[in-house]
């Protein structure tokens, strides 16, 4: 057995194709100038690249970038009271610690993510921020490192793993409580303040976190054998997916108070979160349904053959497989929800995009419109692109489509 493996291994080694060294000239000819049409295409796209890059560089060197550092706090956390900023940092520490812990105990992708987070925070600390901010930034790296060390020590200990999962799940409510406060213990921030980019993050996390269980239930309902449940779920999903989010936000801002009794008046932020959750749940349901449909019948039959009932079949056999299949779709949904939080500005909630208007309204920063939009674009791009990168990696580690 062992010998056989050895032989297969050596054969594989021997058969590995030689690394071909292609001369630059040949590479150019094959990849850029293989035919007349290709040569023309190459020249045209090279010209396009050169014009765009030069134009951008020329603009970027003359741009008034000072608008960003001058308003950085406003953009990122809005008018969150300075004396309570430690709550935002603490939330960051908690997440960094958990990332580090998972990285230490699992290695692989999580280790890379936590390393990137720590190094980025150190990098930012080198930038000319006030010393207090630099201290906080270094703290993030420290939290990630401490988490990493503890995670590494806890490797293979069963209860540590359970604790880790519990901590991740608990981190959501704890973050919300920390950020918004609780009456009596921590001063409540609420709508007295504008939240800036923090609101985009919270909106997306709350939206996905709450819509995930609802979406799974809706997807199961849509595939139910009971017609009443199927019809209601289908109607909900199709109606929500048939209208734009902005019309639902409009409804939440003006009509929801008409549908609730006079003594219940949820805050506008809460209403926006509810809307995003209701909206996202319908899309989530369709994603999950895609995964459910991909599970072959044999899985159901085998599970009922060993004597499981319907609920257990769904929870133990079908959902784990189905959800693994739809991880990329769910991450995609998370990304689009994150981007959709910019629509909150429509109902007068000051998130990142809407806050730029108040900056541009300031006479000192007139005409910095390009700089601000480019900054916002870069912030969103970095976060969204890394999320889709991570999801592709997760897909690979879980071996979707291979087994």
């Amino acid at each position: 057995m062992n010998d056989n493996q050895q032989i297969v291994h050596t054969v594989k080694e021997q058969l590995r194709p030689p690394i071909e060294r292609i001369p630059v000239f040949r590479w150019l000819k094959e990849n850029l100038f293989s035919s007349w049409l290709n040569a023309i295409l190459t020249v045209v796209s090279a010209a396009l690249i050169v014009t765009v890059v030069f134009g951008l560089l020329k603009w970027a060197l003359g741009a008034r970038w000072e608008v960003i550092p001058a308003n950085l706090k406003l953009l990122l956390v809005g008018t969150y009271p300075v004396e309570y900023l430690w709550r935002v940092w603490t939330t960051g520490y908690m997440i960094a610690f958990l990332l580090g812990f998972s990285g230490g105990s699992h290695g692989g992708l999580m280790r890379r993510v936590s390393t990137v987070v720590a190094s980025v925070s150190v990098l930012f600390a080198i930038l000319p921020f006030p010393w207090g901010t630099r201290g906080w930034l270094v703290g993030i790296a420290v939290a990630a490192a401490v988490g990493f060390g503890l995670g590494h020590l806890s490797k293979g200990i069963r209860w540590c793993k359970r604790l880790e999962i519990a901590a991740w799940i608990l981190s959501f409510p704890i973050s919300l409580v920390l950020l918004n406060g609780v009456a009596g213990i921590l001063p409540v921030i609420g709508r007295r303040t504008t939240w800036g980019f923090l609101l985009n993050l919270i909106g997306a996390v709350v939206g996905i976190g709450l819509s995930f269980p609802i979406g799974v239930l809706l997807a199961l309902g849509r595939r139910s054998e009971l017609p009443a449940i199927r019809w209601v779920c289908t109607a909900y999903i199709e109606i929500i997916r048939g209208v734009p989010l902005i019309s639902l936000l409009f409804m939440a801002s003006i009509m929801l108070q008409l549908l609730l009794p006079a003594n219940i008046r949820p805050d506008l932020l809460i209403r926006a979160m509810m809307t995003v959750t209701a909206f996202s749940a319908a899309y989530m349901a369709e994603n999950v349904r895609g995964g459910l449909q991909a599970i072959p019948r044999g899985q159901y039959e085998a599970a009922s053959a060993v004597g499981l009932n319907r609920a257990l079949i769904t929870i133990l056999i079908i959902l784990p497989q189905a959800l693994r299949l739809v991880i990329p779709a769910i991450v995609g949904q998370f990304i689009s929800l994150f981007m959709d939080t910019t629509l909150f500005g429509f109902i007068a909630i000051l998130e990142l995009l809407n806050i730029t208007r108040s900056i541009m309204g300031n006479i000192e920063w007139r005409g910095t419109i390009f700089e601000l939009y480019v900054f916002i674009g870069i912030v969103f791009w970095i976060l969204c692109y890394s999320m889709s990168y991570i999801s592709r990696r997760i897909e690979k580690t879980l071996g979707v489509g291979e087994r």
Partner: protein, 393 residues
């Protein structure tokens, strides 16, 4: 037989799965109905407190607000007509946007599979950059930064070849306007279309019977163009007259004016959706296995025939369902028009709400309009999809 009867009697009804199912569903429906009843009851109470009543009578009142583009409209027209103008504006931007986004998507999608390294990378960068920036940020960029800041004032507008003028107020392009003889010419056009359809159907049946490939659509197109041309010359006077934008004292006269917000919305929507369509097109082409092309060549088809008869039909099967949802997304995303001041149905709807205070009615109307559009698009695409679907045994 006897056995069955005995067993059904021995199961008490509270453990009979058939009974339980019915009871469960009835309970579920009752809970849902109670929830809806509760909401509606609240609505009624609240409306009573405000002294309001649900009615659509306000649609017959004078609108009183201006709409700067789209169908011919006057502030003295009624609310209902104003809403209709908004719907037409939404359809206008959605249809043109879908066409542009599809063109961009196909070009970029094919470019991503190009053998040219530079073209491939360029297309890849376009897709990755555009897909990961929120649409609203892009729309604001096009509208506030490009249209309203970067472009020049009307008097020193940028002139593009083909008499197209780019200004801060929008884009002016040459356009054909209908003259008096237009309606006469329309008879020829409609007649030609009818004849073309007949020719198409006949030719297709003929080809099918002969089991031969061919271009029935080309025949039909030829017939239509011939008759339309003949009609053009047979009608006295030109049915269409070309008007060109000309700069007068303060503004351009003639041609077609596309407002700054319309242009920004169109650019934003088609560039954004185009990136998504590019990925769909790429995936669709990659999904057709190489063996298919090789086999088609082996039976003697020409290159164009391989593409048209073997690769495209199979690629379309993969492409159409996600493409449909992209078209729907574009239509729904056009509602962001309200944030850059284009008078689409969402914008007109909220304006009417602000003027009349009719929240419930306007929301119902807006949602119903979007639902109808989504439904029609998906019906159309589902029909097309069914025609392209794999015919299984």
């Amino acid at each position: 037989m006897n056995n069955k009867a005995a067993s059904s009697q021995s199961i008490p009804f509270w453990r009979d799965i058939r009974v339980l199912r019915v009871v469960g569903q009835v309970l579920f429906l009752l809970i849902i109905a109670a929830g809806i009843w509760w909401l509606l009851n609240n609505l009624q109470n609240n409306l009573k407190a405000y002294g309001l009543k649900i009615s659509f009578g306000f649609l017959k009142n004078t609108a009183g607000f201006p709409i700067s583009e789209g169908l011919r409209y006057d502030p003295t027209d009624v609310n209902g007509y104003a809403f209709w103008v908004g719907i037409v504006n939404t359809i206008r931007v959605a249809v043109i946007g879908i066409v542009l986004a599809t063109v961009i998507g196909i070009v970029v999608g094919v470019a991503r599979l190009s053998s040219n390294w530079l073209v491939k990378k360029l297309a890849g960068i376009y897709v990755e950059v555009i897909r990961n920036i929120p649409l609203l940020v892009q729309l604001f960029f096009w509208y506030f930064a490009v249209m309203l800041t970067a472009l020049p004032l009307v008097k020193n507008s940028i002139r593009l070849p083909g008499l197209i003028y780019l200004t801060r107020r929008g884009v002016y392009i040459p356009w054909a306007t209908a003259t008096e003889s237009f309606s006469t010419w329309m008879f020829y056009v409609i007649g030609g279309l009818a004849l073309a359809i007949i020719v198409y159907v006949l030719r297709r049946t003929q080809l099918k019977r002969a089991e031969r490939p061919g271009f029935p659509i080309a025949w039909a197109g030829m017939v239509f163009i011939l008759i339309a041309f003949a009609g053009w010359f047979l009608t006295s006077g030109n049915p269409l007259a070309l008007t060109v934008p000309v700069l007068k004292k303060f503004n351009f006269v003639g041609g077609l004016w596309l407002s700054a917000s319309f242009t920004a919305l169109l650019m934003g929507l088609s560039v954004y959706t185009g990136a998504f369509i590019a990925e769909i097109v790429r995936a669709g082409i990659l999904a057709v296995s190489k063996g298919q092309t090789e086999a088609a060549k082996a039976v003697g088809l020409k290159r164009a025939q391989v593409l048209r008869l073997v690769v495209m039909p199979q690629a379309m099967r993969v492409i159409i369902p996600p493409l449909t949802s992209q078209y729907l997304n574009l239509t729904k995303n056009s509602s962001l028009a309200i944030l850059i001041g284009y008078y689409d149905l969402m914008n007109v709807g909220t304006t009417i709400f602000n003027q009349t205070g009719r929240a419930v009615e306007m929301i119902l109307l807006i949602m119903a309009s979007y639902l109808t559009m989504s439904l029609l698009t998906s019906l159309l695409m589902n029909y097309y999809n069914r025609r392209m679907k794999l015919v299984e045994r």
